[in-house]
């Protein structure tokens, strides 16, 4: 009884988010163009690195774009997720949040529906990136099944990041504060991970941070799937970590919304 109600209520929250997204054409255009810029810019700027055999060994490929593709996928998902909380703050200002809170829905449906919408956007975006990358000559070592697993990991990562963003938004209550906290966390998180640079090339202290960074946990299995193949001992720790991350973040945000009001 409890599960279906939560699912149905989440569906309606999700339905609204998707309707909103579809009328905001600019948002869709930006979501498509942004990873394209990353791919072309990074691919060209850093492409020369692989001419050095040491770097090529560290990157694990002769094609820097191949190394970067999972990194760009995860960054798109990260940026999509961290700003998820903005919609909650906006809903609070317009009174729509109160309208939903006064409805006889499971309150956890509000974060779950919103997070699911964000996650679906990331799936579409990542698929788009994969198509562009493939067209630019990136070869996926594990093919379509590997890409599907990659999407699963991406969904879990998106649930985790968006969950944290929504939980933060329920505490911070202003766009400015949320942006500040988000910016404070996001970029260091990217640079202190193996999204752009291989961990092996980092100084020891940064390597230590990168090892425990959730972003690294997400990227390692993705990169393995793209560059190496079905090397399970490099895939399952990340998959497990992402599952746990998503679960905890969604629970925390659900709790935040359940607590608001009486």
């Amino acid at each position: 009884m409890k599960l279906p109600a939560l699912l149905v209520d989440s569906y309606w929250v999700f339905w609204r988010e998707m309707k909103r997204l579809l009328v905001q054409r600019a948002r869709i255009a930006i979501a498509a163009v942004q990873p394209l810029i990353w791919l072309i810019l990074m691919g060209n700027a850093m492409g020369g690195l692989t001419a050095n055999p040491t770097t090529a060994r560290l990157l694990g490929t002769q094609n820097y774009l191949e190394f970067m593709t999972p990194g760009i996928m995860i960054m798109s998902t990260l940026f999509g997720g961290v700003f998820g909380g903005i919609s909650v703050i906006w809903d609070r200002r317009t009174g729509f949040l109160n309208k939903m809170l006064a409805a006889p829905i499971k309150r956890a449906a509000i974060p779950v529906g919103k997070i699911t919408a964000i996650s679906l956007q990331s799936v579409v975006q990542v698929t788009f990136i994969a198509a562009i990358a493939a067209a630019m000559g990136v070869h996926f070592a594990t093919g379509v099944p590997g890409f599907l697993l990659l999407l699963c990991i991406m969904i879990l990562f998106s649930y985790g990041i968006a969950g944290i963003s929504l939980a933060l938004a329920s505490v911070l209550r202003s766009h400015e504060a949320l942006m500040a906290v988000t910016n404070l966390l996001t970029l260091p998180m990217v640079f202190a991970s193996n999204a752009i640079f291989p961990r092996e090339a980092m100084p020891t202290w940064l390597k230590t941070i990168a090892t425990y960074n959730p972003l690294t946990y997400a990227i390692t299995p993705l990169r393995t799937l793209v560059l190496e193949g079905w090397v399970w001992e490099k895939i399952w720790p990340g998959l497990l970590a992402m599952g746990l991350f998503a679960f905890v973040a969604v629970m925390v945000s659900a709790r935040q919304f359940a607590r608001s009001g009486a």
Binding site: V8, D9, Y11, W12, W15, R16, K19, R20, V23, Q24, R92, T94, G95, F96, N98, K99, M100, L101, A102, A103, P104, I105, R173, G261, A262
Partner: protein, 335 residues
Amino acid sequence: MTPIIEAEGLTKVFPGHIVAVDHVSFAVEQGEIFGFLGPNGAGKSTTIMMLTTLLRPTAGHARVAGFDVVRQPERVRASLGYVSQDLAVDDNLTGMENLILQAGLYHLPRQEARRRIAEVLHLVGLAHRAKDRVETYSGGMRKRLDIAAGLLHQPKVLFLDEPTLGLDIQTRREIWRYVRDLRANTGMTVFLTTHYMEEADLLCDRVGIIDRGQIKAVGRPAELKAGLGGDVITLRLAGIASTTEVTAVLRRIPSVNDVRFYNGEHVITARDGEKTLPLVFEALQQVREKVVAVTLKQPSLEDVYLAITGRGLRDDQESREDAIRHRIRMRRVRA
């Protein structure tokens, strides 16, 4: 019959010892239009938010449609419709989509949802604009759509928080008509808040006068006005004699019930206003005071408010900017 809304000692204290609602008790009967009248910041919205389970009371109890707002919040939410003062409709969606969403959030079966959406759209006169995005709607249309959404699941109680705030007088009258028609057609109970005394007077069966978080009086508008004991005479004087002197001589007139000095005017409540007026002039001659302007009228709820609280309804609204800032501030402490 048990009342459909019951509040007993309802209290809300915000951090920093701000007592927004102070031991408020009242009951609303089934089918009534009951209004809370008071200036901004009197605690009206905070009361509504406690009754709609959006805020947890610091103390006291409340029951809506027989369910306790703290112990059975989900049952309470299913029984009520809530239309906040915020115009809480999604501008990116069409009017129809807003209502489809509302139907989903209130678990209406598909067929019934379709029928009722058509019904409420017709009721608020938006059927011809249903397929347009809300962005293109005027303020009054948005408000009507918001009310339509609040009505969609045929709640036992409809809460309207400042239903006509910021709307022009024509739209305001339209909204009043919708609310009255609604009650006539469905027998729905309506609980509303307002700081427009005209709105309380014309729309409400009973009014609760709320000031600084406390209920000062409850009754039918006519009763409350009759309670003043007659007509209202407003005097603007030249200011030759002192205010206390003037007040003293006026109070000596037998038919005068009360004299207050407010906003540069003496406001007198008296039985038989027409017959009292000559006595007032005589009394003023005794203290050599001259009258600059005088009005005699039937009392309004505003006069009731003034008599009960000693302050005017507009006291707390210095400017539009202040009102906006106040609302943002109140929202911040409430949320």
